[in-house]
C-alpha cells in the first residue's frame, strides 16, 4: 500500500503548541552556539582588515607578527586555492582580499595565536602598504559615467550595452503595453524612492572552530544556516575533497539570511592547516557590521495608473540595487515581487545589480522584496488617498488570485491574498479610531518561498520512540514543527520524538535553511520518511500475521488489519513491533531524499498606526497587526513568532536603521550604539492573524512563513507616517530629522 498521509484537517498533533525541544537548553544556557566550542591545543585567530574603501595591496609584511611570542601562523591570500571562478571565486575574494581591498573592513591577512589577546595584538603588527584608489558607495553614483570601476569585466550577458561596468546584472519582465495602460488611467502617480542598507542584526556574531590536517581531512564547527554549503565552499577555497571536511552546525543566534554564506570559516581552516592546531575564530560586532553581508541599498522609480473606481491600469518600476563589491544584489527578486500582489493587464519591471565599495550584500529575509513593496505600496497609498478610495477595497479589487497571470509571468496556483485582505478588513484594528497626530498605513507583501535539495532520515528505537535527523539548521523553532509532523504520521506523542540537526557526514546534501523552506521541505521530507517507516512497520505486522503487506494499515500508532477479509488480528502498537525488530528483519528506519518543488507562495498584509511628535519628528509605532497566509500553521506559536519578528525588523529598517558611510568610504556606525536597531521598549505588542489557505504542494498544506512577514512593514509604516504628517515619505529610514524636514516642507506649503 502506498501510504499517503496528506490532509488539511483532522489533525491530532499538528496545530498544537507544545514547548520547543531546544527551549530548556536555550533558557538555561546549555545550548552550544558558535563560540561555545573548545578543543585541546586550540589557537585563537584574528583578522587584519582594510581601513580603506578601495585600495591596491602593494605589500603585506607579516614578519613582525610572526616573530611575536605565541603567534603560530599567519595567512594571506597566498594560503588559499587558486583558479576559482564564479560564485566560489567571489566568496574567496571576499573572505581574503587578493590584489585589491574592495571595501572598508575587507580581510587582508589573519593570525592564529595562543590567546585571543595575542592574536589581536599580532594583527596590529602586520604592515600593509596600500595604494588608495577612488571609491564609490552610493548606488546612483556607482552607475554614473566616470564612477570608479570596482572590477572590470564583472558584468554578465544580461547587461545591455552602454551601461557602467559597475552594473553587473540586468533583469526585465512584464506584459501588455504600459503606455497604453497609463493612457487609460484617471490618475497616474510616479515617484522616486530610496532605502538604505540595513543589517540582519542577528545577536550571535559569526564564529567557528576548525581543524584541518596535512592529510586534507578536516572538522569544522560553525554557526551557519547551511553547513553543506559551508562544506562545499570551504573545500573549494582550500582545495579539499568535499567529503573529507565534516561540518557540524552549532545552535544559531539568528541569521535571517545573513548566515547563508561564508565569511570566516576558510580562514580558520587555512590557519589550522598551517599551524597544525585547531583554530577558533569569532567576529567582533564591529567586524560583523563591516564585513558580513548587509542588505542592498536601493534607488527606485515606480509609476502606477489608476481609474477612479480603483482599477489599476498599468504599473512600471525600475529598481537599482547596490550590492557591495561583488555581483549578487537580488535585483530580479525586487522586480518580480514588486507588483506580484496585483492582477495587471499592463506591467513592466526592470532591475539593476550594481557594485560599489561596500561589503558584499547577503540575503536578508525575502531579499529584495521589502524595498519593492515600500515603493509600490506607497504609490498605491498615494493613489487611494488622492482618489478617495479605501486602501483595502482597492487592493482587493486588483488582487492576484488563482488563475490570474502574475506580474512576472506564471499563472497563479491557489494563493491566499484575497483571504488575507478580507481578514484585514474584518479586523477591529482596521476601523479603530485614531488619535490626533496618528496615521494608519497598510501594505501587502509577497514572497516566493523555496523548496530545495532535502534529505531526512528517521530511526525507530526499541521502545517505539523515534529520532529524526534533518539537515536544515533550526533558525525558528523548526525542530518542534518536524516533531509534530512526525508525530502526526507515526501516531506517537510529540515528546517521544527527538529531532537532531545532523552533520554533513550523516545525511545527503541539504540546501541552506533559506527561502522559508524548512517547514515546507524538511517538513515534507520528514512526513515522507515517517511514511516510509510506517510502511515497514506495517510490513512487520503483515509478516507476523501472515497476510499481505497491503492488507495492513496504520492508525494512531497501531498496525491494523485493513478489514474483515484481511483477518481478525489484535492491532499491534508501534512499541510491540519495535521491541522485536532485531529478530523480525532488523532496525526500522525511514528516509526521504528529493528536491520538492511545490513550495507555496505566501502573501501578507500589515496594519500600522504611527504617532509622530510634531516638535521633534520622532515616530512611535503605537499599534501593529500582521495578517499572513501560512497555508497550515504546524506550530502556531512559532508562526506568530515569525510574523512578529518580521514586523519588528521592519520597524527598525523603516525608522532608524541604516549603514552610514563617510566621504572617506568608511562605515561610521559599526556598532549597536549608532546602528539603531529597535530595543524592546521601541516596539508595541504585535498582533497576529494566521490565515490558512492550504498549499497543495505540501502534504499538510504548509507554506513558508519566515520571510513574507518582513515584506509589508517598510511600506505600511511609511504610509502610516505619511498619513500622520500629511507628506509622502519617500526615503528610509524615516529618522526624526527627516520627518521634521517633511513637516516643515508641509508647513511651508
Amino acid at each position: 500500500m502506498a501510504l499517503d498521509s496528506s490532509k488539511t484537517t483532522g489533525f491530532k498533533y499538528v496545530g498544537t503548541r507544545p514547548n520547543r525541544p531546544d527551549g530548556l537548553d536555550k533558557v538555561t544556557g546549555r545550548a552550544k552556539f558558535g563560540a561555545d566550542a573548545y578543543a585541546p591545543g586550540m589557537l585563537h585567530a584574528a583578522i587584519k582588515r582594510s581601513p580603506h574603501a578601495h585600495a591596491r595591496i602593494i605589500k603585506i609584511d607579516t614578519s613582525k607578527a610572526l616573530a611575536m611570542e605565541g603567534v603560530k601562523a599567519v595567512v594571506t591570500r597566498a594560503d588559499f586555492a587558486t583558479g576559482l571562478e564564479g560564485e566560489f571565486g567571489d566568496i574567496l575574494e571576499n573572505v581574503m582580499a587578493g590584489e585589491k581591498a574592495l571595501y572598508d573592513g575587507h580581510a587582508v591577512a589573519a593570525v592564529a595565536a595562543t590567546s585571543a589577546l595575542i592574536a589581536r595584538d599580532a594583527i596590529k603588527a602586520i604592515e600593509v602598504d596600500y595604494e588608495i584608489l577612488p571609491h564609490v558607495t552610493d548606488v546612483d553614483a556607482a552607475m554614473q559615467a566616470g564612477a570608479p570601476v570596482i572590477r572590470a569585466g564583472a558584468a554578465d550577458a544580461s547587461v545591455p550595452e552602454g551601461l557602467h561596468p559597475n552594473v553587473v546584472r540586468y533583469y526585465e519582465s512584464g506584459h501588455g503595453d504600459v503606455e497604453a495602460g497609463f493612457a487609460e488611467a484617471d490618475l497616474v502617480v510616479e515617484d522616486h524612492f530610496v532605502t538604505e542598507a540595513t543589517h540582519q542584526g542577528y545577536i550571535e556574531p559569526h564564529a567557528c572552530l576548525g581543524t584541518l590536517g596535512s592529510d586534507g581531512k578536516g572538522e569544522l564547527w560553525c554557526c551557519t544556516q547551511g553547513h553543506w554549503y559551508v562544506q562545499k565552499v570551504c573545500a573549494a577555497c582550500l582545495g579539499l575533497e568535499t567529503s573529507q571536511l565534516r561540518v557540524t552546525a552549532s545552535e544559531i543566534g539568528g541569521g535571517f539570511g545573513g548566515k547563508t554564506t561564508v565569511f570566516i570559516e576558510p580562514v580558520a581552516l587555512a590557519l589550522s592547516r598551517k599551524a597544525n592546531r585547531p583554530v577558533k575564530l569569532v567576529m567582533t560586532r564591529s567586524e560583523v557590521f563591516r564585513a558580513s553581508g548587509p542588505t542592498s541599498s536601493t534607488s527606485m522609480d515606480v509609476k502606477i495608473g489608476m481609474k477612479k473606481d480603483g482599477t489599476i491600469t498599468a504599473a512600471q518600476g525600475t529598481f537599482r540595487l547596490q550590492g557591495g563589491a561583488f555581483p549578487g544584489a537580488p535585483c530580479e527578486m525586487t522586480a518580480m515581487c514588486a507588483f506580484a500582489p496585483y492582477d495587471l493587464k499592463h506591467v513592466h519591471q526592470v532591475g539593476y545589480d550594481v557594485m560599489s565599495n561596500r561589503p558584499k550584500q547577503a540575503a536578508y529575509r525575502a531579499p529584495g522584496s521589502p524595498m519593492a513593496a515600500f515603493a509600490v505600496e506607497s504609490v498605491i497609498d498615494e493613489l487611494c488617498g488622492q482618489l478617495g478610495l479605501d486602501p483595502i477595497d482597492t487592493r482587493l479589487k486588483n488582487a492576484s488570485r488563482e488563475g490570474t497571470r502574475a506580474s512576472f509571468g506564471p499563472t497563479w496556483p491557489r494563493i491566499g491574498l484575497v483571504e488575507t485582505l478580507e481578514a484585514v478588513k474584518a479586523h477591529p484594528h482596521y476601523v479603530a479610531p485614531l488619535k490626533k497626530g496618528q496615521g494608519r498605513g497598510i501594505s501587502c507583501g509577497f514572497w516566493f518561498n523555496h523548496g530545495g535539495e532535502t534529505a531526512v532520515s528517521l530511526a525507530l528505537s526499541e521502545d517505539g520512540s523515534a529520532q529524526v535527523a534533518v539537515g536544515t539548521p533550526d533558525i525558528g523553532g523548526s525542530r518542534a514543527s518536524m516533531a509534530l509532523m512526525a508525530a502526526e504520521v507515526l501516531g506517537i506523542p510529540y515528546e517521544d520524538i527527538r529531532v537532531t540537526i545532523a552533520d554533513t557526514a550523516t545525511l545527503g546534501y541539504n540546501e541552506i535553511s533559506h527561502g522559508s523552506r524548512v517547514t515546507y521541505a524538511s517538513g515534507l521530507a520528514t512526513i515522507k520518511a515517517a511514511e516510509d517507516a510506517v510502511q515497514k512497520l506495517c510490513g512487520r505486522a503483515a509478516a507476523k500475521w501472515g497476510i499481505p503487506e497491503d492488507a495492513v494499515y496504520w492508525e494512531d500508532g497501531y498496525a491494523k488489519p485493513s478489514g474483515p477479509n484481511a483477518g481478525d488480528f489484535e492491532p499491534l502498537h508501534i512499541d510491540e513491533i519495535t521491541a522485536t525488530m532485531g529478530a523480525t528483519g532488523g532496525p526500522i528506519c525511514g528516509h526521504f531524499e528529493a528536491t520538492p518543488e511545490g513550495a507555496g507562495v505566501s502573501f501578507a498584509a500589515h496594519i500600522v498606526d504611527a504617532e509622530v511628535d510634531p516638535d521633534t519628528g520622532k515616530t512611535s509605532v503605537v499599534r501593529y497587526t500582521v495578517v499572513q497566509d501560512a497555508g497550515k500553521a504546524i506550530h502556531p506559536t512559532y508562526v506568530e513568532g515569525q510574523f512578529q519578528g518580521g514586523a519588528a525588523q521592519g520597524i527598525g529598517w523603516a525608522l532608524n536603521e541604516e549603514y552610514i558611510y563617510g566621504a572617506d568610504g568608511r562605515l561610521q556606525n559599526a556598532g549597536f550604539l549608532d546602528y539603531r536597531i529597535p530595543v524592546a521598549s521601541d516596539l508595541p505588542m504585535i498582533d497576529t492573524v494566521i490565515v490558512e489557505v492550504p498549499n497543495p504542494g505540501h502534504p499538510f498544506g504548509v507554506r513558508g512563513v519566515g520571510e513574507t512577514s518582513i515584506c509589508p512593514p517598510l511600506a505600511a509604516i511609511a504610509n502610516a507616517v505619511s498619513n500622520a504628517v500629511g507628506v509622502r515619505m519617500r526615503q528610509l529610514p524615516m529618522r526624526p530629522s527627516r520627518v521634521l524636514e517633511a513637516l516643515e516642507s508641509a508647513a511651508d506649503g
Partner: protein, 288 residues
C-alpha cells in the same frame, strides 16, 4: 598594563601622580572597559577606586545638601529614598544612562570625567549647582562641576589629580529640576541633545533659574541668559518662547551621524520648553 586597587585616596593620588603613560581611574568601567576593548585607549595604569572606604556612600551634609562617594552608581542614586526627592533631575539624568546592567556600574563622576559632550548627568549636575572635590599631591579643593570638562574627552584635572567626592547643594524650598534628552529610540542610545533646567519659585514667580544644554557644543553649555529671561516671571508662553529661543541661540553643534546642526538646534529649543515645564511643576510641589 598595571592594575591597582588602593585602600585610601592618599595612596590613589600617589599612584596617579607617579604613574607614567596613559592612566585611567576605574570607577564603574562602563566607559574605560568599552574603550579598552575597542582599542580607543590602552592604559598603562588602571587604578580601581572602588575599594576606598566611603566611596559607595550617599550622605546628607550638615547644610542639608548631599555628598556622594565617587563610586556611587546610577542604580544606588535611583534607589535612594530621599536623594530623588531633592534632585529628581539629577537622578533621572543618571537613570537614563544605559541599561539595568550598566546602571549597576556607571557613576556620575565617571560620566563627568569621561568628558563626552553628550554625557547625560553633566548638564543636570551643572544646573543643580553640583561641585566636586579635587584631590592632588598638593591637597584638596572644591570646584563647580562645570569647570571640569574642557573639550571632548578632556578635563581640567591636572596630572596627579582625582575627584574624591561629589556634592549637591541643599535643595531648599520651592525648587525643582528636570533633565530631558532626545534620542531616536526609547533607550540604550546617546543624547542627540540634552537639556537640564533648575528653578526656584516664590509662589508662581521664578526667583532663580539655570539651564544647561548637552550635546550641542564641545562641552555642556550653561545658558546664563536663561536667568534673565525667567527671573521675575511665571512660566507663561512668552517665557517659554524666550527660553526656547535662548536655547537655540546657545547651540554650537556639529553635523554628524547622530544629528544635524539644524536638527540639534531646533530640538534644543523643544527640550528647553519641555524641561522647564517639568522643573516648574516640580518646584510647585509635583512629585513626578
Amino acid at each position: 598594563m598595571k592594575y591597582y586597587k588602593p585602600a585610601t585616596f592618599e595612596e590613589a593620588v600617589a599612584l596617579v601622580a607617579g604613574a607614567e603613560g596613559v592612566t585611567r581611574i576605574l570607577a564603574g568601567g562602563t566607559d574605560v572597559l568599552v574603550q579598552m576593548r575597542s582599542d580607543i585607549i590602552t592604559p598603562d595604569t588602571l587604578i580601581d577606586i572602588k575599594a576606598i572606604p566611603g566611596t559607595h556612600e550617599i550622605t546628607r551634609t550638615k547644610d542639608g545638601g548631599w555628598r556622594l562617594g565617587v563610586a556611587v552608581t546610577g542604580a544606588e542614586m535611583s534607589e535612594h529614598p530621599e536623594l530623588g526627592r531633592d534632585w529628581p533631575g539629577v537622578v533621572e539624568a543618571m537613570d537614563l544612562i544605559g541599561s539595568t546592567q550598566v546602571q549597576g556600574r556607571a557613576t556620575p563622576v565617571g560620566n563627568l570625567c569621561n568628558g563626552s559632550p553628550a554625557a547625560d548627568s553633566v548638564p543636570a549636575m551643572i544646573a543643580a549647582g553640583a561641585a566636586v572635590t579635587v584631590t592632588g599631591p598638593e591637597g584638596s579643593r572644591e570646584i563647580p562641576v562645570e569647570q571640569i570638562p574642557v573639550g571632548p574627552g578632556k578635563t581640567s584635572l591636572a596630572k596627579g589629580e582625582i575627584i574624591t567626592a561629589l556634592t549637591l547643594p541643599p535643595r531648599g524650598a520651592q525648587g525643582g529640576d528636570a533633565y530631558l534628552r532626545f534620542i531616536p529610540r526609547t533607550e540604550m542610545d546617546i543624547a542627540v541633545v540634552g537639556c537640564a533646567v533648575n528653578l526656584r519659585l516664590n509662589g508662581d514667580v521664578i526667583t532663580e533659574a539655570r539651564m544647561v544644554l548637552g550635546a550641542v557644543a564641545p562641552t555642556a553649555v550653561v545658558v546664563h541668559a536663561a536667568a534673565d529671561a525667567l527671573v521675575g516671571r511665571t512660566l507663561d508662553e512668552d517665557a517659554l518662547t524666550a527660553l526656547s529661543d535662548l536655547a537655540e541661540a546657545s547651540c554650537n553643534p556639529i553635523d554628524d551621524k547622530r544629528g544635524t546642526i539644524k536638527f540639534r538646534t531646533h530640538t534644543a529649543g523643544v527640550l528647553a520648553r519641555r524641561a522647564a515645564k517639568i522643573a516648574y511643576s516640580r518646584a510647585k510641589g509635583a512629585t513626578a
